[in-house]
Symmetry: D2
Subunit: 352 residues, 4 copies
């Protein structure tokens, strides 16, 4: 059930509806929009009676919901969600006019490496740094990240360069640690249906970057996000990173059509990861251009200062000068769609 408030409804009207829902033993999820507020109800075992709500002051309509997701649905919240990352003042808005450019190495490997990476992506215009301290790896014998030492290095980088930190959390207990350091908690593709982890990040104060699973349908992807919102964390950023198909010219098949599909069903922002989405360095820039052209809200890209000696994913990491070229190209494409990057028009003109 969705309760749609009238544009003239007061905060008191919204509060009254929420109390009513709580008194019935369910959970209210007020979602303020530009024009009006909508209130989702979760926890109800079956259909509710619209009349119970439509008679309350300020209520425009009570709509029964048929889709399995509610809180992520554009029916609940008609305006695009803009997710604020970082401290109260400053920080960055994902889903706003400026594209979110997240760049950095697959894994934090050393102080030298992460500082060199941060320095180069910062100079090219990235606002957020990616880098894993805990790495889920197919092999138990592969490098699994530096752990807390890696998180501390990321915190140093934030202080030094002002970059916001996006890093992965791999299980509920691990989240206690990671959320002390990260600005955005990343949930990896293999964990998209790790429901214990989804519930845990749903109780965090930090925004969540949720990657699509390798064989997740759109509905499963949105339902995974719904888990996070249902726990009260509405700051979810989706990310397409390629799905598994028979095609063998790329490591995964980047499914760009999911961007407009998400935009029509949900209010959440969505990014594209062309690095994992192709698995090959020489396909990253063309697919980054395509991702921006299709309407993504930003990119998450692997960049390594010394890609040929990376401890993981080196073959898909851009060299620093390639990332600068990527920024140049996507800034031009973004302009066609009325969007921007950190580059000013003057800066872009100087490069062209």
């Amino acid at each position: 059930m969705l309760i749609v408030m009238k544009p003239v409804a007061t905060e008191g009207d919204v509060a009254r509806v929420c109390r009513k829902i709580e008194s019935m033993g369910y959970r209210p999820h007020p979602m303020p929009g530009a024009q009006r507020t909508a209130i989702g109800i979760t926890g109800n075992p079956g259909p509710l009676e619209p009349a119970e709500f439509e008679t309350l002051p300020g209520v425009a309509e009570a709509i029964p919901v048929s889709k399995p997701y509610k809180l992520v649905s554009r029916e609940l919240k008609i305006d695009d969600s803009v997710i604020h990352v970082g401290p109260e003042t400053g920080g960055f808005d994902i889903g706003g006019q400026e594209l979110a450019m997240i760049a950095g190495p697959c894994a934090v490997e050393s102080r030298e490496q992460i500082f060199a990476a941060a320095e180069s992506v910062c100079r090219s215009g990235a606002r957020l740094l990616r880098g894993g301290a805990f790495k889920p790896r197919t092999s138990p014998y592969a490098f699994q990240g530096l752990g807390e030492e890696g998180l501390k290095l990321l915190a140093e980088v934030r202080r030094e360069f002002g970059l916001l930190i996006v890093t992965e959390t791999i299980d509920p207990e691990n989240c206690d640690l990671v959320e002390q350091y990260a600005d955005v908690l990343q949930v990896g593709a293999r964990n998209m249906q790790n429901f214990s982890l989804l519930k845990r990040v749903g109780r965090s104060k930090k925004p969540v970057l949720l990657k699509r699973g390798l064989s997740a349908t759109l509905e499963e992807f949105l339902m995974a996000a719904e888990y996070v919102l249902a726990e009260g964390n509405y700051n979810v950023i989706l990310c397409e990173r390629g799905v598994r198909t028979f095609a063998d010219h790329t490591r995964n098949t980047l499914d760009l059509s999911v961007i407009p599909a998400v935009k029509s069903l949900s209010h959440l922002p969505i990014l594209v990861d062309p690095s994992h989405g192709t698995g090959r360095r020489d396909k990253v820039i063309p697919m980054a251009r395509a991702a921006v052209a299709v309407g993504a809200d930003g990119l998450i890209v692997e960049v390594h200062p010394n890609a040929d000696h990376a401890r993981s994913d080196g073959y898909q990491s851009l060299y620093p000068d390639q990332f600068r070229e990527l920024m140049r190209e996507v800034t031009s494409i973004a302009a066609v769609l009325g969007r921007t990057t950190a580059w000013s028009p003057a800066e872009l003109a100087a490069q062209n």
Copy 2:
């Protein structure tokens, strides 16, 4: 085996190498490039001795080939192929600076319908008209096209609007008829490995638009093109139109990463069909933008003057005003990549 000629080699040198190859019982395929000519050899049952050729005048190198394709390979021809469509003078170059914009209905349904479609796409800047007279349909009971009557209507449209005609041929015998009317012979996705048809169009004088099969790997796709070139028709235009995956939010999954992959392996131009590639009208424009951004040489798009009453594929056909919007958006994206459409900058500025 590829024979690479020196930049200074004369036509006589090239002819001498070709005669040598013929005298051994094989087939020479000279491919002139901007800097130099390369000559492919087909028909040899096994490896040849490089020294047999490297001693001839004008020969720079004889390179044994390891990939299964030869004639479509960028190793044979380093420059992009530009495929001329239409009469000797006039016509259109696919693979040149201007993007090939092919638009029109799924099927020719009537004189009124095809004239209305042609008029609208022509006005919006398409240079080529698509429209099927012979339609391969999943059901034997579905509308299978108007047949030769449809071809005659397409010929009328060409005279009336100056549009070049792209239409499908469905078997070797049918090709005898279709090539009398078409400017480009389309081979559909379901026929990508219909080798009898590939050989037949390989003996035609008309360019061939070859669509990727629903589950074709990149290598199978290039090998299908190789069939056409091996028969002597080097005018092949590839087309990505979506592959079959588990994803269910679109009818097929458009695999845009195949564009840069083809560009690195082959000299042939490649288009994208966002209509079949998504199967949904509301995804066509975003994916068209992405296709141009990734580097495709053009688009083939379904447009129907009365899409809601189309006899086939209505749900994925654009309305005429949507096609105009598509042209506006892709013209802007194209400019970023140094490419153009039929729209002049002034025309584009007037629309923006």
Copy 3:
């Protein structure tokens, strides 16, 4: 529309209904069953009025059809179809109690090879010989079969060993030749939606073995069969041969669940090809056992007298003694399901 006749309806009643259908401009397809006859109607552009038929003598019911297929449907014909292969007297019934065991090399390579193959599979209990004279190959430079010479060798083998011949036809014109020699016309997976070929074999007197396409859904598979039946050839044998998926431990993924799915929707028999279905010799026998256990009506298996030197598909061809082992194992499994092979119980006991 399906017309279901009463059990007591006479041949005259059936003929009257057929004439009525023809007089309306449509095509009747009478299908005699064990208990009653059903008559399919094709060619009608839209729904028909049941009352037009239900008032005729002998008619039990006129049922509007919602599924896209009619003639292949078990609604039309409730009893399993048994397809007679070979001369009027003698020959073999596919879909009856005895499993159809079709074995032989991928391609006819020489007189010696095909005679050796025939001799060994015949001795092990195969009733039908497979062997391609026209081979669709991914590469234009690969061995494409011996052509008519191969067909003549197959005809010799039939005379010598009494084996029935299953061989592929690759286009409508080629079918004119192949049907002079073959007992069963095979349509390959890549041609499953070559509708011109489907229509051509639909006009043949010979039974058709129709292989499932690499990415064909069950509905597309049945619709391809429907094309053949709609032309008047009701003798279609389906064949599952693996579909294309991400899994890389076999060349294709053999989808055995399609066997019970076909059995519930259609009256047509269905075989399994574990050779193409796995692409690896060491998986053929286990999957052959599974295919018989799931309820397939037989197997088509590649066996080569000299598999390590085969000109095509050698890595998936069984050695002759492996085929004997396969026969032993599937005969035992078949017995559990109340089915048989050419082996008598005594013969089987002697082997165990």
Copy 4:
């Protein structure tokens, strides 16, 4: 590196090699086989020198390993692993001659339901009961299981019927609870690459049933098992439960060819889940027959005493009498492969 001991090597020889490995800072994994013991080494960052080990008493050979998995590999342990489930005395051996038949409802719903289910599957010959107390569900609003109350009911059932309990654990913390009640810890398909959970069950004393992920390659599947063995728990049972493909006639595509593929690469037993593998009740029995015929070591099947009112997966759960029919059919098939079920030959004969 694998160290293969001589057949005559003593326990002291094995211990000496293990100490040597530990002294180098790596981890030894001794695996006793019927003829000889092999010792895997993990934790080494790169290749080791064979001569360091081949000079020790009792060592036959030191083999460098190229595949990414070691402990699950048949190279390390040539004999099939038989996994003992249950108390020291009594219990059941998975991977032995008798097929493991695991049956029961998707979820424990109530005392009445789980007792009725246990009673019926026990009477039909199942030795192990399945039933989820913690259910990973696509929707946060769906029934997620009874939690510890469900585990307590399962413990009661074990006492009452002597059935061994297979139940799912969903995260590391949850495992602390589940391992107090379960005889086998199930790791679900969505958690196949939840590496934190894999490591946790790797430190448990209880055997682990590891389901293949929806888009897991064979190598990824074996590497997930390797995570468990690498922590010291060698009692892993694999389970194929269908993969995600384009095919839509079943919920997943059951990939039976993975059974012989696992058998050739690994010593671990593997079961098949035809319930999730097809998602449709009417396909479960045919695919169960096929699974046993292909060589699986057992089945895990959903059976519900009141399937039409199940709180989850009702459409794929067998009715109790269908499970009895399944047992009858698979017992007959098993006999062909020299395997048995709980049914004696007399019992089987009485049913046939």
